[in-house]
């Protein structure tokens, strides 16, 4: 196998033998290379500098003898076999040397055949042993290498499993996020863990369609940041700017070296853009690390961060779509609730609306309007279902109800018409009430709605009876009208089920709670009463459902004074006349007298409206007093009294002068005051 010479060292103090043996070896073992040493000391020098395949040594030498040399050889070259040459018959020495580790012994006179054969055996044994050692070493090396491979693979697998877990966990977090910032935060957190990054920023434009470049200064821009413990984040603005810049500059994902640098402390960075479903650039994510990636390759990381970003994109689409629908529903609902309630002297009226949980818009609604008869229409309803659709149905119902009601039809007929009108497959509860301020009578129909509560000043509560199936439950239904007459100071409360319904609780418990709460505050003003009801019955901020609640209370009439404040618009006058006429007759004026006073006031107010400053928000006030048969009217406006136009022939002023005893018009820079007086006859009212 090997062509290397067999290196043999011969040690003997006998110069003759020291010459003869190498010659013999040269002849009989031509592949051998022989060194000689004439003393143990010389031999040790050779051994120290060269690795021999066999050593032949005389046992008897001056100084250090063969036995001792044998011991030294064992120490320095323990694998090298040694042949000992002993004198004739020196069996003891021979055995001693074998014990000391000699491979064999050769007695003098040397039997050359035996000597060579023994030497061959020794060399062969030495070669075999060496081979075994080498193989063992090779095996050990292989085993160590294998172990290394297993360790590396295990580490890789563990890393991959860890990343997979991060991905799975982040998917859950991203998809359970309720808003844009929550999604971005989940992505930033997950990416930070996934890439073992020191910092991460995720940002995007939070609108459905992103037109134009991503701009971190836009009000639509939302961002979230994550850091590893101990890592310092470059300031948020810097991150966001880098993010927007990278999102705009590059279409594809970007590995290290291409992503914008986040500063000298973060030499490694990675950026992945975020797109809308339509492919528009929406934002992106950027990661920075203090050192290089620990295990996975850049490419792998980019892929995984890319998966995160894809998940975020889908979640964002959903959230934005949902937000849009919610905004539409909310806007619809809000636009359908009455802005300002009608002001009716002698009647306290107020309402509250509390939107429910932010993730759903309900179909609760209420409406209050004056009827041509001078009566008050009150509606409160709840459309089954949520979202845009419920809000839209609610709008249809509200408008239809107003239209039917303004025809002057009684509540039962309005209900029957609405029942034919409601879209097929839709259900809605409704309480529609017509309240007559003159008689204090409330006529109503209750279509599956929670019953109104009446409370007297003496704190006695009762629920208004009478019920029919909800709208949409029966194709044809003949509704029956119920009625109740209020007394001054009594309060009637209309509400939706959100006020009294608590999950897992019988509805009666809620109704009883409401009745108690109303009784507790029955003598508060109705604004206070409503606030109390919302706080104590409605579950406060925990309300899941929408809550609408409305209260109405006839007040004892002040027959000496009436005060009205109205928007200076033409549509105010009709209600003003009704209110005024009702007050005048209630104060004891005959019908024709009330008509004349009303007409004079109408003319004064019409002038104020026609000449009021500004578009819309101007107002006028009417103060009427009736003391000792002297009726005084003061109309105040924020406009300037205009000299009557020739074409108008001053008809308004003519009418006012004809109907009143005195009419004084006082125009100033701040507005105009019309003061009118008339002596009137009154009949005392009970």
């Amino acid at each position: 196998m090997t062509t290397a010479p067999i290196r043999i060292l011969v040690v003997d103090d006998d110069a003759a033998l020291l010459q003869a043996l190498p010659e013999t070896l040269h002849l009989r073992m031509p592949e051998s290379a022989v060194d000689t040493a004439d003393s143990a000391a010389a031999a040790l020098e050779c051994i120290a500098s060269k690795d021999y395949d066999a050593i032949v040594t005389d046992i008897k030498m001056p100084g250090v003898d063969g036995l001792e040399l044998l011991g030294r050889i064992r120490e320095v070259q323990p694998d090298t076999p040694a042949l000992v040459i002993t004198g004739h018959g020196e069996h003891d020495l021979a055995i001693q040397s074998l014990r000391a580790g000699a491979f064999d012994y050769v007695q003098k006179p040397i039997d050359r055949e035996y000597f060579i054969a023994s030497l061959h055996r020794a060399v062969h044994a030495r070669a075999l042993r060496r081979q075994v050692v080498e193989q063992q070493q090779a095996l050990q090396r292989r085993a160590a290498a294998l172990e290394q491979v297993v360790e590396t693979r295990t580490e890789e697998l563990r890393y991959k499993a860890d990343r997979a877990r991060v991905l799975a966990e982040s998917a859950a977090a991203i998809h359970s996020a309720r808003d844009v910032v929550q999604i971005l935060q989940s992505v930033a957190d997950a990416a930070c863990r996934l890439a073992d990054a020191s910092v991460a920023a995720a940002g995007c434009a939070a609108r459905e369609r992103e037109a134009g470049p991503a701009n971190h200064r836009s009000p639509e821009w939302k961002a979230a940041f994550a850091t590893r413990p101990g890592a310092t984040l470059p300031n948020d603005d810097q991150m966001a700017r880098a993010l927007a810049a990278c999102a705009n500059r590059h279409g594809a994902g970007l590995g290290n070296g291409h992503a914008p640098a986040l500063g000298p402390e973060l030499p490694w960075s990675l950026a992945v853009p975020m797109r809308s479903r339509g492919g528009d650039l929406r934002g992106g994510i950027i990661l920075g690390r203090h050192g290089p990636p620990p295990c996975a390759e850049d490419e792998d990381l980019q892929l995984k961060v890319g998966i995160l970003v894809r998940q975020a994109e889908v979640a964002l689409e959903n959230v934005l779509l949902y937000q849009r629908e919610r905004t539409i529903a909310e806007t619809l609902q809000r636009s359908l609730l009455p802005g300002e309630l009608p002001q009716i002297p002698g009647l306290a009226l107020d309402a509250r609306y509390l939107p429910g949980r932010p993730d759903a818009v309900g179909g609760d609604w209420y409406d209050v309007f004056m009827l041509p008869s001078g009566q008050l229409g009150l509606a409160m309803g709840d459309v089954a279902g949520r979202g845009v659709w419920a809000a839209a149905v609610m709008g249809q119902l509200r408008n239809a109800l107003r239209a039917f009601a303004l025809e002057g039809d009684p509540p039962a007929l309005v209900a029957a018409r609405l029942n034919r009108f409601i879209p097929t497959g839709t259900m809605a509860t409704l309480l529609y009430m017509v309240y007559d301020p003159d008689t204090m009578e409330a006529r109503y129909v209750n279509l599956g709605h929670v019953p109104p509560v009446v409370v007297t000043p003496e704190r006695t509560t009762s629920f208004l009876e009478g019920g029919a199936p909800p709208l949409g439950a029966k194709l044809w239904f003949s509704y029956r009208e119920n009625s109740a007459v209020l007394t001054p100071g009594s309060t009637i409360v209309l509400y939706t089920d959100g006020l009294v319904e608590t999950r897992g609780e019988p509805i009666d418990d809620g109704l009883n709670r409401l009745a108690r709460a109303i009784a507790d505050k029955s003598n508060d003003d109705i604004a206070g009463l409503l606030d109390h009801l919302l706080a104590s019955v409605g579950g406060g901020t925990n309300a899941e459902d929408d809550i609408a609640v409305l209260a109405l209370r006839p007040l004892p009439l002040d027959s000496t004074r009436l005060s009205l404040r109205l928007p200076a618009v033409p549509s105010s006058l009709s209600q003003l006349r009704q209110t005024l006429r009702r007050w005048l007759t209630a104060s004891g004026l005959a019908a024709d007298l009330a008509y004349e006073i009303t007409t004079a006031c109408n003319e004064a107010c019409a002038n104020a409206i026609e000449h009021a400053y500004g578009p819309g928000d101007a107002s006028l006030s009417l103060e009427v007093s009736l003391i000792d048969g002297r009726l005084t009217v003061i109309v105040l406006d924020t406009g300037r009294w205009r000299t009557p136009h020739p074409l108008h022939r001053g008809l308004g002023l003519t009418i006012m002068r004809a109907l009143m005893d005195t009419v004084d018009v006082d125009s100033g820079p701040g507005g105009t005051t019309v003061r009118m007086q008339r002596r009137v006859a009154t009949t005392a009212r009970v």
Partner: protein
């Protein structure tokens, strides 16, 4: 709230009769004016405005009637206004001297009869 006003038009022997029902004030006077003037456009010989159903009429309503009176006079058309006896609005029409410009009748039949007779 804008007061409701309904205008129903009937034709009797070529004469349109506009029956108004509701209230007339600053909020709807111009609409009432446009509708009544439109009745004159196909040049009938006259027009009867029936205010029996009108519960309220203010100075703007009176202006409308006065303008109608002027237009019919220029076109040589007759205008008669029906106001029942004892109607609240009669007082306003008298105060503004509309009754001097336009003949007032108590019923539609009276108006129709007199219109034929005087024409």
């Amino acid at each position: 709230m804008i007061p409701t006003i309904d205008i129903r038009v009937q034709d009797r022997d070529g004469i349109p009769i506009a029956a108004l029902e509701g209230e007339i004030d600053i909020a709807n006077a111009s609409e009432v004016r446009d509708q009544l003037l439109a009745l004159l456009s196909n040049r009938p010989s006259g027009l009867i405005v029936d205010l029996s159903g009108v519960t309220y009429l203010d100075s703007r309503g009176v202006h409308v009637l006065l303008e109608l009176a002027e237009r019919t006079k220029i076109r040589h058309q007759q205008l008669r206004i029906v106001v029942p006896e004892g109607a609240m609005i009669r007082r306003i029409l008298q105060l503004t001297r509309l009754d001097v410009v336009v003949p007032l009748d108590h019923t539609v039949d009276d108006a129709a009869t007199r219109m034929g007779a005087e024409y």
